[in-house]
Symmetry: C2
Subunit: 305 residues, 2 copies
């Protein structure tokens, strides 16, 4: 029997806690599981793109079909469908539409990195980016440390102001717009969630002890961080090879980022309060498979928010 | 709205005519459409494999997830699920389970090649292979020419006898086992459907004017045809690059097979009654997408056999 979870159902089932647990499972599984080459395809209109990320670990095997239709106006431009195979037979086991859940999943990876790498006494969270995903990031990250204040860096003042209001509404934390330099200098934790193709700030603005989670770079040419930061910071990522190919570290000649899975396993991590830690996430299939499994468990238990 | 067609439903909807029309659409579309790199993945037990074949053409975009779980006993070892995206929005449009239909789809490609390349006066069909897929091939191929007789070449006499009886039951044609040399020498049309990793016959046995459809070679190391045949035969295939990589022509240094799509478009084909034509099929995503679309049309029209 195939289980089908629609977009409306998965959007009602997902929450930050479910996504964080699924992320933790995925990052632990990546050390023993497999991920296969990412396919970047398109429809007959080449600007409408889809990606296939597939993998397996434990009793999970399957693929996430992510799509990006930039011309969508009434619907979100991003969609996501996760297909799971039955590990015993190879037959179709479940189909989970997960566009909304995918935003939680991506934010959860960065929250997991903050939980694992940021100083426990982190109080000031700065976000660069005021888009839909950035709000998911702030909400997810705000759950893993006792932040007292959120600074919002955006290109447009009105967007930053509106975003700060949304942060307060969703997290209860005071939030306000900031200039890039002031925002970066003040940050204990800095989250970047943009579509940038160049560094968003100067490396010299980053205070000792800062943790940075960068989620924007997920393709050739994308970049959020200054290259000079690589020499002074400890570098972490989700999948080292992918991060050096399409992630932030494509710009760092010879960078050897450490997998967050190794940090979770206790083999690496922050070694001093003054260390600057950087986590780059480009996304991998096991995150999608564990997310789908978590949604299926919650679905079968009859729970939803 | 997502449409879901289960394995039982698609098995009831599919037939040779539907599959042949879908194959024709696919081979015509391949000249204007796109196919993306094939992913070969596996479950956490590496012998359980899955492949992702994706593509787009016209208003079709999507992926076929084929799985091969060799340890299946009660269920078929091959499964197939086709996922279509809505061309207007990128969202999930349909999920079609298609394990049975996939056997029709693969046979239809070879039947299309026979219809396009074999002599019109072909009367004797020989098949090498006595498996499940071979029977689909014979049934599909027998529809496109007025065959009078089928010869069956198998490694085991009892399997060949049983297969010949099944051919007669499904096609109404007289069928009998044959030794390899006699079977190949007698053939106007020769179909190979085995898992062989070496040539199944001598090139010298092939009579002038024979058409050969070879469907077995779909991975590194697989081979059904004698290499010396490449020098004397006209070579055709579904996707030239794929055929040279994982298909039959991986064994033919410098072979330049012609795409069957070019034949359908009138740009190439059989040029004399004495020509030996060879078609190698390794399978491509557009066949799966057009098959799924055909099943969806028949599903929505409420028809089934």
């Amino acid at each position: 029997m195939t289980t089908f979870i629609s977009e409306a159902e998965s959007a009602a089932l997902v929450n930050d806690e479910l996504a964080l647990q699924a992320a933790r499972e995925a990052f632990l599984a990546v050390t023993t599981g497999s991920t296969f080459p990412v396919v970047i395809g398109h429809s007959s209109l080449p600007h409408n793109r889809f990606t296939l990320k597939s993998g397996s670990a434990g009793d999970l095997a399957g693929v996430k079909i992510g799509s990006f239709w930039p011309g969508n106006t009434d619907l979100p431009r991003h969609s996501s469908t996760i297909v799971l195979l039955d590990p015993a037979t190879g037959r179709l086991s479940a189909v989970v539409e997960a566009a909304t859940a995918n935003a939680y999943r991506t934010a959860a990876a960065d929250a997991l990195a903050v939980d694992t790498l940021a100083r426990n006494d982190s109080r000031r969270l700065t976000v660069i980016g005021t888009g839909h995903q950035a709000l998911h990031e702030v909400r997810a990250v705000s759950r893993v440390r006792s932040f007292e204040r959120v600074l919002v860096v955006g290109r447009r003042a009105d967007a930053a102001l509106e975003f700060a209001a949304a942060v307060t509404a969703q997290t209860g934390l005071p939030a306000e717009p900031a200039e890039p330099q002031a925002g970066v200098e003040a940050a204990d934790v800095l989250v970047t969630a943009t579509t940038s193709r160049e560094a968003l700030f100067d490396a010299g603005w980053v205070a000792p002890g800062t943790h940075i989670s960068a989620m924007g770079a997920d393709g050739p040419g994308k970049q959020e961080l200054p290259i000079s930061l690589y020499g002074t910071a400890s570098l972490f990522c989700d999948l080292p090879e992918q991060s050096r190919t399409i992630g932030e570290f494509q710009h760092a000649e010879g960078a050897t980022p450490v997998a967050l899975g190794a940090v979770l396993a206790g083999a690496a991590g922050r070694t001093s309060p003054d260390e600057i830690t950087v986590f780059d996430s480009s996304g991998f299939a096991l995150q999608d498979l564990t997310l789908a499994a978590a949604l299926l468990r919650r679905h079968s238990s009859g729970a939803s928010e």
